[in-house]
Amino acid sequence: MLHTTNTSVISLHSDEMKSEAIKDAGFACPVPLPAGGRVLLGHGSGGKLSAQLLKDVFLPKLGNPVLDRLEDQAIVCLNETRLAITTDSFVVKPLFFRGGDIGSLAVHGTINDLAMGAAKPLWMSVAFILEEGLPMETLHRVVASMQGAAANAGVQIVTGDTKVVEKGSADGIYINTTGIGLVREGISLSASAARPGDAVIVSGMLGDHGIAILAEREGLKFDTEVKSDSAALYELVATLLDATREVRCMRDPTRGGLSSTLNEIAGSSHVGIELEDASIPVREEVRGACEMLGLDPLYVANEGKLVAIVAPEAADRALSALRSHPLGAEAQIIGRVTKEHPRMVVARTTFGTTRIVDMLAGDQLPRIC
């Protein structure tokens, strides 16, 4: 049903989507696109179109054994030391939102990608692309926020770069980062390591970040108490790995949400995943906002949650460990890995029936009715 009471324009310039503009600014792909082909906003959504872009454009030319693993971070060896490297771009709009801003988000997002590979984040680079005319005060606020987030997480920002583009060529501030971390000894995580029987655990409530951002989008403003969950996850990861080494894989379900993350794991590991609808933790306000906007919380972005695939015998220990940390207090076992329906994520509804939880195709579209 159309919500005629809602006065709202959704800007399609969402955070992930602007990554195309960034690619244009600094990176020219040598591969010709198919005739008439264009980059669509959906190519930046973290769903199927993003995966297609990797498969069709990037991997054929840039692929190598490290990149081809397609984990959130690359693990490279230097003598006996395993280093994790990751890079990320941040184009969030608005720049400031409930629970965070683009500066803290850039730090958290980068170090979380390292943490998901069991790496302790050590150093970061930061590159700014600034739009001509940006108020200096805005930049000060963002940089101060980055400093705070980095200090809290024990990460040093050791190199950086600044470019300014003409007014209209960017949207305020874009940030690109690189993170380097040290992988914990004896731990090797991979999205291809999930085995039938494993437990699927999330560290807390889903969808907070995406809803907090949408609530502040120009033209879509609605009142909500929901705050972004943007947070640095390495401490939580360390707490988990101290309790058990039987963790197969960790991911942070950012853009594309839980569904995209689990579909990637199911695909990489050639297994099925079965979720229990009733045990998936979603805040009441987030459910309400999703109902109103016609969105599914399983597709909404998170910036301070992790999904862990854990061996069955270690599941309870892992859950207790996560719950012992403030960032994992609402952790839940939400399902298990199965032999059945390989590469598919299926949810058991509260009615005892089943449905597929598919990867996002294109962008999540508001429904008209």
Partner: protein, 365 residues
């Protein structure tokens, strides 16, 4: 969530499903009209709960799905113009026209915006008089009042840069066409709750009387739908053919008068083409002559644009309930939500997309 969770209660739902299975002496063929209802039935697996007592076939009530190909082509043509801002509901952007969709038009530089409410499009026109703002006004009786209000608002504001690309369809003529079809198997209808909230139930009483078919107005949550199915089965078992309202918390007998008045002021009934179905007499709405200055097809000379539908797409049979999406040879292979051949695969309200999204694991491709 209050007022929602009660209607998703598993114990209540299973209880009603058991009651339906107990009452049924044969496998009744029922159709839910609205795509939103199809979506709920698939998402919660209600067809699985009902077993052999009821066969659900899915009706033509997805507004995105039935919008004819040439209307999509016309929208694409407008989006291609440098002086036009094309405003649409989100679902429409991915619907394939003959050659392209609005997402691609946007990527090619077209000014395409998504809104939740058509009055936002009026605001866009008001804020930038240099742009010709066209709202892609699709849908059933549910969206018509908001579109009418947008026109009235634009008129009040004296806007000359606002218009509608109208592709409005009406439910009752489609039900009548379906019931007249020699291929029809449907024995009872779940009428669309939101449409009836606007127009009331009078038209449905006429259909029930003319065709001796039971109709129950249904809501959109699992318990709503199960209750509507139970009431239909009860009527069929008792040989009654009445109109009953199981969605009384939203639907009143006469509907919403102010909404009807706005629609009557701005629109008039006209023939309409339905995607996959073809022309149905008096099955849609068009702008009245008085509001012709808000008619994008007239302003931009789009009436000549016609289009042929892909031969492989069986959307006609799907939209009329003659075939299940999974009976289509292209389902899940040549036709997927990423690469839809026809509109029912695009919108989450579309029957093909609902099957693909929720039930693919239960069929062999």
């Amino acid at each position: 969530m209050k007022y929602l969770d009660e209607y998703r209660d598993a114990t209540i739902a299973r209880g009603i499903a058991a009651e339906i299975r107990r009452q049924s002496t044969q496998r009744w063929v029922l159709m839910e009209i609205c795509g939103g209802q199809t979506h709920t039935l698939m998402r919660y697996g209600i067809d699985e709960l009902l077993g052999d007592s009821v066969e659900l076939v899915h009706g033509p009530g997805c507004p995105v799905c039935v919008t004819p190909l040439e209307m999509i082509d016309r929208a694409n043509m407008l989006a291609r113009r440098s002086d036009v801002t094309l405003v649409s509901y989100g679902d429409m952007l991915r619907v394939p026209g003959s050659e392209t969709d609005l997402f691609h038009m946007k990527a090619e530089g077209g000014d395409v915006r998504v809104v939740y409410s058509p009055t936002d499009a009026v605001e866009l026109a008001r804020n930038d008089p240099s742009r010709k703002v066209v709202f892609f006004a699709i849908g059933f009786e549910t969206t018509a009042p908001a579109h009418a209000m947008a026109v009235l608002q634009a008129e009040r504001l004296g806007l000359e840069n606002f218009s509608l690309l109208v592709s409005h369809v009406l439910v009752p003529p489609a039900i009548r066409m379906l019931l007249r079809s020699p291929k029809n198997r449907v024995q009872g209808f779940i009428a669309p709750g939101h449409v009836c909230t606007v127009v009331g139930v009078g038209d449905y009483e006429k259909i029930a009387a003319d065709f001796n078919v039971p109709i129950v107005v249904g809501g959109f949550e699992p318990v709503d739908l199960l209750e509507a199915i139970r009431m239909l089965v009860c009527q069929l078992e008792e040989g009654r053919t009445e109109v009953e309202n199981s969605y009384a918390r939203s639907v009143q007998y006469a509907g919403n008068r102010p909404a009807q008045t706005a629609v009557e002021k701005v629109f008039e009934v006209s023939d309409r083409k339905w995607r996959g179905v073809g022309n149905i007499a008096e099955s849609g709405l068009r702008l009245k002559t008085k509001y012709a200055s808000f008619d994008a097809e007239r302003i931009f000379g789009l009436r000549e644009v016609q289009a042929e539908e892909p031969a492989e797409c069986i959307s006609a049979d799907v939209l009329l309930g003659n075939k299940k999406p999974t009976e289509c040879p292209a389902f899940g292979t040549r036709c997927t939500p990423d690469n839809p051949l026809g509109a029912p695969m695009v919108s989450t309200e579309g029957a093909c997309a609902a099957y693909h999204q929720y039930k693919r694991h239960l069929v062999t491709l």
